[in-house]
Amino acid sequence: MALTGILLIGFLYLHMIGNLKIFFGAEAFDHYAAWLRTIGTPLLPHEWYLWIQRGVLTVAVVGHIVAATILARRARQARPVKYAHRPKVQGSYAARTMRWGGVIVLLFVIYHILDLTTGTLNPNGVHLEAYKNVSTDFAPGRWYVTLFYTLSIVAVGFHMRHGIWSALRTLGQQSPRGEVIARATALVLSWVLVLGFLVVPFAVLVGLVD
Amino acid sequence: MGDFYNDGDPIADTAAPEGPIETRWERRQFNAKLVNPANRRKLTVIVVGTGLAGGSAAATLAEAGYKVKSYCYQDSPRRAHSIAAQGGINAAKNYRNDGDSIYRLFYDTVKGGDFRARESNVYRLATVSVNIIDQCVAQGVPFAREYGGLLDNRSFGGTQVSRTFYARGQTGQQLLLGAYQAMERQIGLGNIEMNARHEMLELIIVDGKARGIVVRDMVTGEISTEMADAVVLASGGYGNVFFLSTNAKGCNVTASWRAHRKGALFANPCYTQIHPTCIPESGTHQSKLTLMSESLRNDGRVWVPKDAADCQKPAAEIAEEDRDYYLERIYPSFGNLVPRDIASRAAKNVCDEGRGVGPGGLGVYLDFADAIDRLGKKAVEAKYGNLFEMYQRITGEDPYEVPMRIYPAVHYTMGGLWVDYDLQSTVPGLFVVGEANFSDHGANRLGASALMQGLGDGYFVLPTTLGNYLAAGPFEPIADDHEEVVAARTEVEDRISKLLSINGDRTVDSFHRELGHIMWEYCGMERTEEGLTKAIGLIRSLKDEFWLRVKVPGTGEQLNQNLEKAGRVADFFELAELMCIDALHRRESCGGHFRGESQTPDGEALRHDDEFSYVAAWEYATGDSGKPTLHKEQLEFEYVHPSTRSYK
């Protein structure tokens, strides 16, 4: 869980930073999208890097889900009879929402690929017209898309907050000072990522990007 | 008094070597017969109880190669009541270079026991004390340490040397976990067969030797007979005869009592330690009492109102001049730090005068206002914070604002099954270790000595002396249908059916509570001839009533906690009677036994060494007379000569 999670977080950060290119204008952003396909050339043929990355990410996502499923199944076997009085959450909500949060994030990722990668569900949906795809996607009239996007990104944030902290523990974090640092790291990284992602649709919404 | 018991022949400890006390244990070890390691596998030992004594004995015997079968009533051996010991464990390491030595620990313990303990045993206890610490450290017991990484020591229970090793306020827990882990290792290796939630209900004696026990599986109710080459009882003390005590709810005398009924003598049953700093009862629902560390008396001042009329007022409204700091008044040189028995009795006296505070007038104040003024709240918190928290959790009162209320409570029983120097009872093959035997504390136990004795017996003494006995084995195997086995088993089954069939109108607890009241009133901190005689009558009629009116719900073939309790209370009745008879016959005050008729003109305990310098070993009342028989073991004091304790 920890290893695949860290890989996915790394990707999300690169993705988020790339998204911010949108504030440099349509040309810069579309150029960035095209550039992604040229990484590794001429050593690698066109788009090969991108496919390798997609492959690795898919493996990570599948691995992450498989591990989570094993843990969830073990948890169910470990408590065959449920509490009659629903247990009160004593720890953190972020921790308690990992599983359902994870499912929401997965559904979002599928939608997100159909929306902005393949363009199937995008109102513009033209390959390599990244800027226009985004700006029409989050147009004020399509507020529900923005709302869904926002909720999903917040879910990603919650998932990451517990995920980062938990990953550090799994990797052996054990000092009280490290505990403070781990909590702070998890919180800051999650907030930065959430804000970094949300600033784009909201910029579209208020007309900063059009 | 001849009405209550018969005089029997004297008894003597023939196992201890004569000669210089310093080498008695070494000589006993050398002369003890050894068992060939290859033969140990063929020898089975039953150990009942998994506290410090039983746990350490089981682990050590299994390590030596014997087959061990261990039994405890708790759901895990780790929960034996040794776990609750707070203060520490004494050892004559002299790490502080303050003049401590094995001889001084021996001297202090004999004197502290008010000259009613056997010198040989106490000297051996002091000798092995140093090995106990080594052993526990090797097991990883996290004792308190100094900044240099060496073990810390403190002075405890009024001794003038710092010889007490401790692990915060949880020394018993840490020592027990050490023994438990050693035991679990042997369980994992298959050398110990562990039977948790099993209660011993009878001893099986064949051809005069202890050969097995009858146990009840407390989950299924199954009664089984378990055979072995020797039986070790490590089943703890009997303080719960008082119903309210600092013992765990499950602590009971049944294992010891069943052995007593089968012929093992019971020594000094009346010696009871009553601890002065416990949290008082808060009402009729009270199920047990909680001890708070004696260290509180280092800074707290004990007082009650001078005028009984003030007792209902809040403490803050009682002016300084209307308070009676009675310990400081009566014992100006020791003040609030007088020994346990004296502090307890003084509290009882002021409450008897009607000057007690709190619910039922059963409490005295332990006031930290002066300490807070003098040292500041911070310093008091650093020293006693966890105790204050515990007090507040239980009482709901904040001791920083209102004075604590304390009252004495039964804490430890020095009496127990009589054993010789080898820890063998009067039944061959039946060994008794820890609080269950009577051996080392005389009439009063010093602080931090119980843990020392439990572990000393289990780790170091028993493995040697039991080997000496087992060298004659393996003994003839006993079949399950042997008449003694069948008889013991039938006895247990009949008793259970009897308890279940009465189906009366009173609960077990109501009887136990009433028995406790009688014992506390007449066989508690102060005993008199009149009171004890009355108590014996009351106990007898309550016992009769119990067997007519007790209601035990459920069946024997299931987890039945009331059936367990009923069997234990039935044995407590018989023990209570013997305790009163023992207390009645001992017309002197010594240690934990204070006879109203035997005090100095200013109210202090008065010993009668000429008449009572002996161990009272009681034989169970069999035969027509229905009276127990007293066997006296005369005590010789060759090294520490009896003197009078004074704390004025």
Binding site: R79, A84, Q174, P176, G178 | V137, E184, T246, S287, L291
Partner: protein, 248 residues
């Protein structure tokens, strides 16, 4: 005060069990939670009903026997408190209080609120010790232990083995229990020779007993009566990785 308790009643291991409601009247706020159940049981016995079975022993918060989930929280609403040290003053007149046993496959119910926790003993038997047969011990001062380590080892060793961590864990994991023992022994110089095998064997025993996997939820430490910190699980993980690496 008068309250109602809804208690889990289960005849034996194979019974399905159910919540049953009882009125408990005239309870002193100074009574402990267990004393409240004592009062209830006295009444049940005299009424000819089956009293509620529950584990308890020392009643001073150290033996670890008592084990009840009260209104969805292991050991009830007070922090760092065992059930036996919980007092009725923390409840209100008229409250309806739910009382359930620890629920975990590794802790099967024996009767009512009594569960079988021998799985914990099995974890200790697998490696929760230092091999030091009696008599073989060197002089206690032969090996100094830095005070910091000794204190931390003590903190970890205060675990009372009650099982609240398992009861509270959404995964039914025993990680905090195992981690506490691994930390206690691993922090002492005496515990080093068996440090690798200990963590491997204890985790194996934990899995074999049917406990769930740890996902660092942190519920365990919140209900732990001794406040065993979650950081010890990180320590266990580090020890585990090191042990696995050495084995490879």
């Amino acid at each position: 005060m008068d309250i109602q308790v809804r208690v889990w009643r289960q005849e034996n291991r194979s019974d399905n069990g159910r919540m049953v409601t009882y009125d408990v009247k005239d309870i002193s706020p100074d009574a402990s939670f267990l004393e409240m159940l004592d009062v209830l049981n006295e009444k049940l016995i005299l009424d000819g009903d089956d009293p509620v079975a529950f584990d308890h022993d020392c009643r001073e918060g150290i033996c670890g026997a008592c084990s009840m989930v009260i209104d969805g929280v292991a050991h009830g609403p007070e922090k760092a408190t065992t059930t036996c040290q919980l007092h009725m003053r923390h409840f209100k007149n008229g409250d309806v209080i739910d009382v359930e046993p620890w629920r975990a496959a590794a802790f099967p119910v024996i009767k009512d609120l009594v569960v079988d926790r021998s799985a914990f003993d099995a974890i200790i038997a697998a490696g929760g010790y230092i091999t030091a047969p009696t008599g073989a011990a060197p002089e206690a001062h032969a090996t100094p232990v830095p005070k910091k380590d000794a204190d931390l080892a003590f903190e970890a060793a205060t675990c009372i083995g009650c099982g609240a961590c398992v009861a509270a864990c959404p995964n039914g994991s025993a990680m905090l229990f195992t981690a506490a023992k691994v930390a206690h022994l691993g922090l002492m110089p005496q515990g080093q020779p068996e440090r690798d095998t200990r963590v491997l064997d204890m985790l194996q025993a934990q899995d074999d007993a049917g406990f769930g996997g740890c996902t660092n939820m942190g519920e365990c430490t919140q209900v732990c009566p001794k406040g065993i910190p979650l950081t010890l699980i990180g320590r266990l993980n580090a020890d585990y990785r090191k042990a696995v690496r050495k084995k490879l």
